[in-house]
């Protein structure tokens, strides 16, 4: 799969996918999108990188680390990082739900703030649900990438 066409395409589209994913995540509260979709899209970008450059590219080419051959895939540093990502994501989601308890509101209560007159954007709305959605995003990305890289390494 690691053909020249594939690599060239991947170089062009992967950054675009990341930007789209970020925008889907941020505007999810008001337009189609959200943590789940952004997470799946981000995972797709990683999958394309794997497809175009091979499984070790991220470690060797991007992070500049050496890869020990024959190491168990589940012990791989990247897999550990992915695993952490979804663990943290789950923690973020739960903690963001616990915060309202401090203010005497039920578990998972959400609220939002509206800022007017912000430069360029003029009208900005920050929803507390964004933190929860970020947890969703992390779990989806971490979970899917763990599965993908472990199964892919087989």
């Amino acid at each position: 799969m690691t053909t020249v066409i594939m690599r060239t395409t991947a170089r062009a589209i992967v950054p675009i996918i990341f930007v789209v994913a970020a925008s889907l995540f941020v505007e999810g509260h008001n337009l189609p999108g959200g943590g789940f979709i952004a997470g799946v899209l981000t995972t797709t970008a990683f999958a394309i990188i794997y497809l175009a450059f091979g499984l070790d590219f991220l470690e060797r080419g991007v992070l500049g680390r050496d890869v020990e051959p024959g190491k168990e895939s589940s012990r791989d540093r990247l897999v550990v990082a992915y695993r952490r990502l979804f663990e943290y994501g789950l923690a973020i989601a739960v903690l963001s739900g616990l915060v309202p308890l401090l203010f005497g509101r039920p578990f998972l209560t959400q609220t939002f703030l509206v800022f007017e007159g912000v430069p360029i954007y003029h009208h900005v709305e920050i929803a507390s649900a964004l933190a929860f959605d970020f947890g969703v995003f992390c779990v989806v990305v971490g979970g899917l990438l763990t599965i993908l890289s472990v199964v892919g390494a087989e």
Binding site: G34, I37, S74, G89, G97
Partner: protein
């Protein structure tokens, strides 16, 4: 006088508390833990004895929302049974340390024995159907542990499994009976009394009438009879009881004499006032007399002293069931009084059997006789209790057997039962002849010539003798003056089980009556036949060898082996480690169940399939999707297949866009892309081409069509049920999304604001999936290393 809740609760809870603390007790007391058991059992006994004469219900709320509570009813019958369990329990604990000296796993033994006693007291006093069932099954569980005490011994494990299988299985029938009964009682008495047995027994006629009206009378009666019959070893489920002799002797004495096996009899007596009638008479009198006769005959065929006693127990249980089966007052008197007498003499007999086995080192009948010189006190004890078992006047068993004969004769005066009116007394006499025979045979252990090969037999220690001596003394007391027992407890037991209680009188008959004649015939024929015991014994043994299906063990073995083989066969078919097999069976059964569900509820209406109207754009997109699906099947290479599959997925995304669901469309697009990429990642590993047989293709085709049809029908049915216009929920979300959640994307607002908890659950699912895949692959690698 109303009962005291604290006292009753303490009496029931104490054995359980003691059972839990047995390991600690054992560390402190060692083998003397048995004497701690004596203290516990005696305390429970005395606590319950303070409640003698009181009547009423006390209870704790347990599951108020379902109207289930931990309710205890105190009356003569429950107290009689609970006191027997605690009283005989005390003697068993007194006997155990000497008998079980030097055995292993004693903490487990005593813990199970204590819990066993507690659960029997629980059954005796509980007045809530669920509580009764709970204690009922607890007795089965404890007996399983006790019968299987010798864990290294195969026959002990076999017997324990069998007892568990039969009694717990019977208990399930009982549970269904209880639920039906609760259903009817809830209608008649109000739902707060649905499980309240005490309330049902206060209104027996209303419940019985309602049961008959609903057509549930016979099912409830039958289900309870199966449960009680399995527990009380009634034919044809009698075979587990003789096998249960694999348990240590103190357990046998407790299990066979006083308690667990009598739980069934006890419960039949308990509900007798409510369900008694012609069907009751026919069912229980026939069942009881059949059991009594068959097990008495089998007892004569036994070669082991414990086996003989075990069959005799089953036979006497039949006698009690038959007693309760007869609807006259004599029936109740026979059942209650014989339960009392049998507990005393059978416990003593088992303890004697234990002494003989312990001292002489063998339990085979043919090797044992003439022990009176070696064991003089034991001989005296045995003489009293064995003659009581035989029903020889003036020993205690005689009185209760007389009552049974009386009830059997009386039956045809109460109900019009035709030839059965003559058959019942005749069978009762016939069975009793064998009772006399095996009782004499047991007694002959101590008389006659002493065989040479027996060797030296030591005197038993005092601790082994105390318990049977106490029981024999009580038996002797009841024999001399049965009215003492009647006044103390039996009369109040009869009051609770009889429909129209009378004052009860027992004593040596002074004038001729049919029961006296029947007793004379029984005893006379028994003694006349005794010289031919060897031939009768041989004859009884020969029959099951000639025709195996007559032996109930044969049926049990055949069924259990059949189930085992069937299970193995089934497992090899559907659990063979191949993913495709699992997928086949899971999909096929899911489809079958779903379609059957739709068919059963008549949800599929064929006319709906014809009326459809869709915009031309949607129809076009769907047409492309269908064509892509066909192309997937027809594609020859994997790459082409995956790419065409993606066409299908993207068409569905377009369908979502057309149906104005942009969020769904976006998700579908992204997921579809990811799946395509993943497929491309793994495709290199898949072989280019499979050789597939025609049969497998056909099977897969059938399965695919079934899955597709199921999905199609499900979608059709579920979308068809959509309410016209927007529902109140939909309007609520649409109106509240901006003011409450601050987002104009309702789907996302629902996901994170309104139904955040659902999303959190889904996150947990994603995390779990990742962890399980990680674990699966790590474990597989670990397995390779080993």
């Amino acid at each position: 006088m109303p009962p005291e809740l604290s006292v009753v609760l303490a009496a029931v809870a104490l054995p359980f508390v003691a059972a839990v603390s047995t390991p600690v007790l054992f560390r402190v007391l060692g083998e003397r833990t048995g004497y701690a058991g004596v203290a516990v059992a005696l305390t429970s006994f005395l606590l319950l004895a303070t409640q003698l004469g009181s009547e009423g219900t006390v209870g704790l709320a347990w599951i108020p929302s379902l109207n289930i509570s931990l309710r205890f009813a105190i009356d003569g019958w429950g107290l009689l049974f609970a006191l027997l369990a605690c009283g005989i329990g005390t003697l068993i604990f007194l006997y155990s340390p000497a008998y079980m000296h030097g055995e292993s796993s004693l903490p487990r033994f005593y813990a199970a024995l204590l819990a066993f006693m507690g659960s029997i007291v629980g059954v005796a006093l509980a007045a809530d159907l669920i509580a009764i069932f709970l204690f009922w099954e607890l007795t089965s569980l404890c007996s399983f542990v006790l019968i299987g005490h010798y864990t290294a011994d195969d026959s002990s494990q076999y017997a324990a499994r069998m007892a568990m299988f039969v009694t717990v299985g019977g208990g399930l029938f009982l549970l269904v009976g209880f639920l039906l009964l609760a259903l009817v009682a809830g209608d008649v008495l109000g739902s707060e009394f649905a499980f309240n047995l005490a309330a049902m027994l206060e209104n027996p006629n209303e419940i019985a009438d309602a049961l008959r009206e609903e057509g549930l009378f016979l099912p409830v009666l039958g289900l309870i009879a199966i449960g009680a019959g399995a527990k009380s070893a009634q034919v044809p489920l009698h075979f587990w009881l003789p096998n249960a002799m694999a348990a240590p002797t103190p357990v046998s004495a407790f299990l066979h004499s006083a308690t667990m096996v009598k739980v069934g009899v006890y419960f039949v007596g308990r509900i007798r006032p409510m369900l008694v009638g012609p069907e009751w008479l026919f069912l229980f009198a026939t069942l009881g007399l059949t059991t009594m006769t068959i097990c008495a005959i089998l007892a004569v065929g036994s070669t082991d002293i414990k086996e003989l006693l075990a069959y005799s127990t089953a036979s006497h249980l039949g006698l009690m069931i038959a007693g309760f089966g007869f609807t006259s007052i004599y029936g109740a008197e026979a059942g209650v009084f014989h339960l009392f007498n049998h507990a005393l003499f059978k416990a003593a007999l088992f303890l004697v059997a234990g002494i003989v086995a312990h001292q002489a080192g063998t339990r085979r009948l043919e090797n044992l006789s003439g022990l009176r010189h070696d064991l003089p006190i034991t001989t005296a004890i045995t003489a009293i209790v064995a003659l009581s078992m035989a029903g020889i006047p003036p020993f205690s068993g005689f009185y209760s057997k007389e009552l049974l004969f009386e009830a059997a004769v009386e039956a045809r005066h109460v109900h019009d039962i035709g030839v059965l009116g003559w058959l019942y007394p005749a069978v009762a006499v016939f069975g009793s002849i064998f009772t006399v025979l095996y009782s004499l045979r047991f007694l002959s252990l101590f008389f006659g010539e002493r065989p040479e090969e027996l060797g030296h037999v030591d005197r038993p220690s005092v601790m082994l003798l105390v318990s049977p001596a106490v029981l024999a003394a009580l038996t002797a007391l009841v024999s001399v003056d049965p009215e003492i027992a009647v006044h103390a407890i039996v009369q109040s037991g009869v009051d609770a089980t009889a429909v129209d209680p009378h004052e009860m009188h027992v004593g040596i008959p002074t004038a001729y009556s049919p029961p006296v004649g029947m007793s004379a015939v029984t005893i006379g024929l028994g003694f006349l036949a005794y010289p031919f015991y060897g031939r009768i014994h041989g004859g009884v043994r020969a029959i099951p060898e000639l025709i195996p299906p007559i032996g109930a063990n044969w049926w049990y073995d055949t069924i259990v082996d059949g189930l085992t083989d069937g299970g193995a066969w089934l497992a090899a078919r559907i659990h063979n480690g191949l993913l495709r097999t699992y997928a086949t069976w899971t999909l096929a059964s899911t489809c079958a169940l779903t379609l059957a569900g739709f068919a059963a509820t008549a949800t599929i209406v064929p006319t709906h399939l014809i009326e459809f109207d869709a915009p031309i754009a949607i129809a076009l997109v769907m047409l492309v999707a269908v064509m892509a699906a066909v192309a997937v099947v027809r594609s020859t290479s994997h790459i082409a297949g995956i790419l065409t599959l993606s066409i299908l997925g993207f068409m569905i995304a377009i369908f979502y866009i057309l149906a104005s669901a942009p969020d769904l469309a976006l998700t579908q697009l992204v997921v579809e892309t990811l799946i395509l990429v993943i497929f491309l990642l793994v495709i290199e590993e898949i072989p280019e081409y499979y050789e597939v047989g025609l049969g497998r293709v056909a099977r897969d085709a059938v399965l695919s069509v079934a899955v597709g049809a199921t999905a199609f029908v499900t979608v059709l049915v579920t979308t068809d049920a959509r309410p016209a216009g927007s529902t109140s929920i939909a309007r609520y979300y649409a109106e509240q999304a901006v003011p409450e959640g601050g987002g104009t994307n309702i789907v996302n607002v629902i996901l994170v604001d309104f139904r955040g908890f659902d999303t959190l659950g889904e996150l947990a699912v994603v995390a779990l999936a990742a962890i399980s895949i990680l674990t699966l692959i790590v474990m597989r690698n670990g397995g390779d290393d080993e």
